[in-house]
Amino acid sequence: MSGKAILQCKDVTVSFDGFKAVQGMNLSLEASGLRFLIGPNGAGKTTLLDAICGKVKPSGGSILYRDGIDLARRKEHQIAELGIGRKFQAPSIFPTLTVEENLELAMKQKRGILATLRAKLAAAERERLAAQLETVGLAGRQRARAGSLSHGEKQWLEIGMLLLQEPSLLLLDEPAAGMTDRETEKTGELLQEIAKDRAVVVVEHDMEFVRNFASLVTVMHEGRLLMEGTMDQVQADDRVAEVYLGKRREAAC
């Protein structure tokens, strides 16, 4: 692997009451680029992302960020402050806040009590908010309560929030779920765009989507790394066909 790794997961194991959802998983990410993480249901993809962003603590292995910062020892908000953004499977925005307020809180800034008590939206920040509203297609809706948005709009708002966080590593769990084909297309393009200067990991079930936008694909199965490669390599692999595409085919019939 060339270039400097921004994230290095080595032999990561996560267990829930003895059940190992992730067991000895390895994953290395470069500072920029789009990585797809695929695998059948229950493969441990979400759990791996949870371990990286601090939601669950790994019981074994190490997760090193940048110059060897051990993420397993940090709390969620500290990991977020280190520049790791996370999008969960279900859209999670703040429903009683307005669209604008959601974005304002997400914006990269000092996040202590005293800082937020004094914080004022500077003109430059206002512009950035407006630009972000434009990017995610919510211009004109800034005063709407986020809870009143449609499912797709909520997804977009959340993506906008993630971008304003200016993360160096972005972890997305099925970002295109529930989107229309056009929205999915747009999401893919946006992901490619933002992956130019940051590392982006996308968990995805939609193979069409993966094929269209993936450069590198990591396949997980039963908590382990099954293989890693381009989409062509992955599709040509027998093991993958067996555990993943095979299952899909069966399910489809």
């Binding site: 962003c53 939601k55 709390k75 969620e76 908000h77 977020a80 402050e81 953004g85 996370r86 999670s92 925005i93 703040f94 429903p95 009683t96 806040l97 307005t98 307020e101 304002e104 809180l105 997400a106 996040r111 202590g112 009590i113 937020t116 008590l117 004094r118 914080a119 005063r143 709407a144 309560r145 929030m161 966080q165």
Partner: protein, 368 residues
């Protein structure tokens, strides 16, 4: 008038006008009321301060405390201890004498000065809240579990104060004082001055709470109410915000308790027990949580109703209040304030339709 009130640009003036109106009403109230009623009103205004504080915690941050009576009581005790020491004029307070104490306990010493007492009346509730908040919020104890712990705090505090008769006056509480800073508490001028002090503190509380709510800090509080975990993954530490708002809320209750003692002349464990703690929550629930004005009005209206009712039917008051609570939670989850806002919007829509003004204004979020 409705026209300029609804324009977003004019809403700031509109708001200033409401504040002005409220201040004028409070200022003028003594002209229209008897001394007795004024004293009652002053007491209710003190309650309203506590209600606004509780609303910051519950309405805005979503943390339900059923233990605010304790913070209120701690403020009340701080003031009462000072007044008692003043009234005893250098000797031991009478109840200590009766219990056989010969020396003033060390923790009574700081209350000899008025300034010290006022400071402690805020600092002690704040410290207790910080202590409880530190061990709960940092360990992610929340929701019902937090609420149960606040009830435990009430039981512990009441038991402690009741049991330590010699140091606290026990069940009887602390009473029997007539002067504050050399002025008779019974004198009409003092009562009037204390009324104005309370009204002033309430207005200041309101302005402060509004600044907090409108700040980005306030937005984080509402975000915590909506989704604590999401806030965490944005990089905020929710426990700090929860501790912060809990401390602020407890401090306001302490201030309310201090003022209460000045109007009522007694503080006892029964005034900080479970029932008063729950009553405080009811003021906010019925007035409308998540709106500052709702919380304040809830405290005024319910206490007004209570004193009217309990003069004639003391027994059924609690039942009535319980029923009112159920009715509001089921039919008016946003309380009276929510009802008023909805009514105002509806009226506006009807007026506008008549005049055929195109609907270009957005609904906008109202967090008065």
């Amino acid at each position: 008038m409705t026209q300029w009130m609804i324009k977003t640009g004019a809403s700031r003036y509109g708001l200033a006008m409401w504040y002005f109106l409220a201040a004028a009403l409070l200022l003028a109230a003594p002209l229209f009321t008897s001394d007795f009623r004024l004293n009652l009103l002053a007491k209710f205004l003190a309650f309203a301060i506590a209600a606004v504080g509780l609303d910051l915690l519950w309405g805005y941050t979503g943390i339900l405390s059923l233990g605010h009576g304790v913070f209120f009581g701690l403020g009340g005790y701080a003031m009462a201890m000072h007044l008692k020491l003043q009234a005893s004029g250098g000797r031991l307070p009478d109840f200590m004498d009766w219990s056989g104490l010969t020396k003033l306990p060390w923790f009574w010493m700081p209350f000899q000065s008025f300034g010290g007492a006022v400071l402690l009346g805020m600092a002690i509730p704040a410290a207790v809240a910080l202590f409880l908040g530190f061990f709960t919020f940092r360990n992610r104890i929340r929701g019902v579990y937090f609420t149960i712990l606040t009830q435990a705090l009430v039981i512990i505090s009441v038991t402690l104060i009741t049991g330590q008769q010699a140091f606290t006056g026990g069940t009887n509480g602390i009473t029997g004082y007539g002067q504050i800073l050399g002025h008779s508490l019974a004198a009409p001028e003092t009562k009037l001055a204390l009324y104005y002090v309370t009204a002033g503190v309430l207005l200041a509380t309101f302005v402060l709470a509004r600044i907090v709510v409108k700040s980005r800090f306030g937005k984080v509080l509402r975000a915590i109410r909506d989704g604590e975990n999401r806030v965490r993954f944005l990089g905020y530490d929710p426990s700090r915000y929860q501790m912060g708002v809990f401390v602020l809320s407890a401090t306001l209750s302490g201030i309310a308790g201090m003022l209460f003692v000045l109007h009522v002349g007694i503080i006892s464990p029964s005034m900080m027990g479970i029932v008063p703690s729950i009553e405080m929550v009811l003021w906010v629930a019925i007035g409308g949580r998540g709106t500052l004005i709702g919380a304040a009005l809830g405290a005024l209206l319910l206490n007004g109703a209570k004193s009217a009712f309990s003069e004639s039917y003391p027994d059924i008051w609690l039942f009535f209040m319980g029923a009112l609570f159920i009715v509001t939670t089921v039919f008016l989850p946003r309380g009276i304030a929510g009802l008023a806002v909805d009514g105002w919007r509806k009226a506006r829509r009807i007026v506008r339709r008549r005049k055929e003004v195109p609907e270009h204004e957005r609904k906008g979020y109202s967090a008065v």
